[in-house]
């Protein structure tokens, strides 16, 4: 590997930040008690979990007992959708989501379709935004759940969640029945407002490893009174809403990382959106036939997504990897399912352009020098690959 390692794949995962790891360490082998036990050793763990819950509640602007700790974003999304759908199905079996959700939501919707639910997948415009009027039009008197992601993991588009929340609330009042509103905020944490009252959501998913917390840990916010059938049965943990011995270190690390991410949010976002905009401006100057995917401004401060015409994404990633740069692509050749990104095709991209995509997602450790290096490195890689191609404009 080259000496330098420039990590530009923070949407995939992030390193655990030192403050979080340090807070976690005592709970592996010293304060290892099971939080459900009554002796003092275990009550230390119980206290740590309770404090983490309070931190989470402060950030979400909710009651501590509306915070459920899970094993990650995928579990939070699954539990949110299945939990509401199965609890509410006597009132209706219609669910609304969008075409650009993470698979944790989309595949859960397909699972629910097997159980008799009908799902509307709202389209997005060419820049990745869901139209409020389409959402409004999709709501029927059978609708029990709307799940729209806050910010997209591939091309960073930010949805107008607060407006949607208000709309759903007013439609639901008009219909005289409650419609639960879930948002997958996995990519939003540390970048966007997470206050559940301002957002008007009833459920919200987070995943710790996306904000410098540990893998295998997540949060589900569940508003009191929302219809909910727990999806993991067993002991009485999490007030019976998510059974299983608490992952004390994971929970502690989640809370510490979330608190710090939110505290630094403004400053980090400002800095990263500067780097982002420089990449968005400079790469197309240096690489012909580059297309920016997603909305130019309503996008996450750390997200860049390009398609380079005529180039497969995977060898671009490998070329970058050789140069010490970590990035990702919506190409089928980088996914186990061998399908091109459903998000990029939902924007209207051809399969070819989806295969040709490159996602760069910045993080708190990235610097201007990293961007310099990227801008030096990337154009040559793309040019070299284009030169191999039978579709290349013949050089002369």
């Amino acid at each position: 590997m080259p000496d330098r390692l420039i990590y530009l794949d923070h949407a995939a995962t992030t390193p655990v930040r030192p403050e979080a790891l340090e807070a976690m360490l005592p709970y592996f082998s010293e304060q290892y008690g099971n939080p459900s036990s009554i002796y003092r050793l275990a009550q230390e763990a119980r206290k740590a979990v309770d404090e983490a819950r309070q931190k989470g509640a402060r950030i979400l602007g909710c009651r501590p007992n509306e915070v459920i700790f899970t094993s990650g974003g995928t579990e939070s999304d699954n539990t949110a959708l299945k939990g509401v759908a199965f609890a509410a199905r006597q009132w209706g079996t219609h669910i609304i989501t969008s075409a650009i959700e993470h698979h944790a939501v989309l595949h859960t919707c397909q699972f629910l379709e097997k159980f008799g639910f009908q799902v509307t997948y709202l389209p997005v415009d060419g820049e990745g935004i869901v139209d409020l009027r389409e959402l409004e039009a999709a709501i029927t008197d059978q609708t029990v759940l709307v799940s729209i992601m806050y910010a997209n993991n591939e091309m960073g588009a930010i949805q107008p969640i607060a407006e949607m929340g208000a709309l759903i609330k007013s439609r639901s009042r008009a219909l005289g029945r409650s419609i639960a509103f879930h948002t997958d905020a996995v990519q939003a944490a540390g970048a966007l407002d997470l206050n559940v009252t301002r957002l008007g959501v009833d459920l919200l998913s987070l995943s710790a490893h996306k904000f410098y917390g540990p893998k295998g840990a997540g949060v589900l916010y569940l508003r009191r009174g929302t219809p909910f059938l727990p999806q993991q049965q067993g002991g009485s943990q999490e007030r019976f809403r998510r059974a299983g011995t608490e992952n004390t270190p994971g929970i502690v690390g989640t809370a510490v990382a979330l608190e710090l991410a939110v505290a630094e949010q403004e400053e980090v976002s400002r800095r990263l959106s500067g780097l982002r905009d420089r990449i968005i401006r400079e790469v197309p100057r240096r690489v012909p036939d580059t297309r920016l995917n997603g909305h130019p401004t309503r996008r996450l401060p750390n997200n860049v997504n390009f398609s380079f015409e005529g180039v497969e994404g995977e060898p671009v990633l490998l070329g970058l990897d050789f140069a010490g740069i970590c990035a990702s692509s919506g190409s089928a050749c980088t996914s186990a399912s061998l399908e091109p990104s459903h998000v990029l095709t939902a924007l209207g991209l051809s399969a070819d352009l989806a295969h040709a995509s490159l996602r760069l997602t910045l993080g708190r450790d990235n610097t201007e020098a990293d961007v310099d290096y990227l801008l030096e490195t990337l154009p040559g890689i793309v040019a070299r690959l284009r030169a191999l191609s039978p579709l290349a404009r013949s050089a002369d």
Partner: protein, 127 residues
């Protein structure tokens, strides 16, 4: 991607593909595309005295496809037509030291392009 270990040799071929290019007066041309992921390979061969005198190609696709094409060109150059006819995706895999399971189609792409190039050559009649 479930398990994506390119061998060192495959990576080397992908990074520095051998024999890239076009043979202007090729004796055989094979074009093959993988409809799923869009990989596109154009293979050119030059035949002399019953042997493959030269082989070149152009490729748009993943690193696996590039490596497969590159190693195929190495296998071809100097081979008798008979031996060339026996090259399969397995020969390509063996020569690369394997490809990840999700990239087997890249070796298949190379095999098919070769079959097409040889058929093209045969269809023109021996000269």
């Amino acid at each position: 991607m479930a398990s994506m270990y390119y061998s060192e040799l495959a990576l080397d071929h992908a990074e520095s593909p051998r024999n890239v290019g076009v043979i202007q007066e090729a004796d055989g041309i094979g074009v093959e595309m993988n409809p799923v992921c869009g990989d596109l390979l154009t293979l050119f061969i030059k035949v002399q005295d019953g042997h493959i005198a030269d082989a070149k190609y152009q490729i748009r696709g993943c690193a696996g496809a590039t490596a497969a094409s590159s190693v195929l060109s190495e296998l071809l150059i100097g081979a008798s037509l008979e031996d060339a006819g026996r090259i399969t995706f397995q020969s390509v895999l063996d020569a690369l030291g394997g490809l990840p399971p999700s990239k087997l189609h890249s070796a298949a792409l190379a095999e098919v392009a070769l079959k097409k190039a040889l058929a093209y050559y045969q269809s023109r009649g021996t000269r």
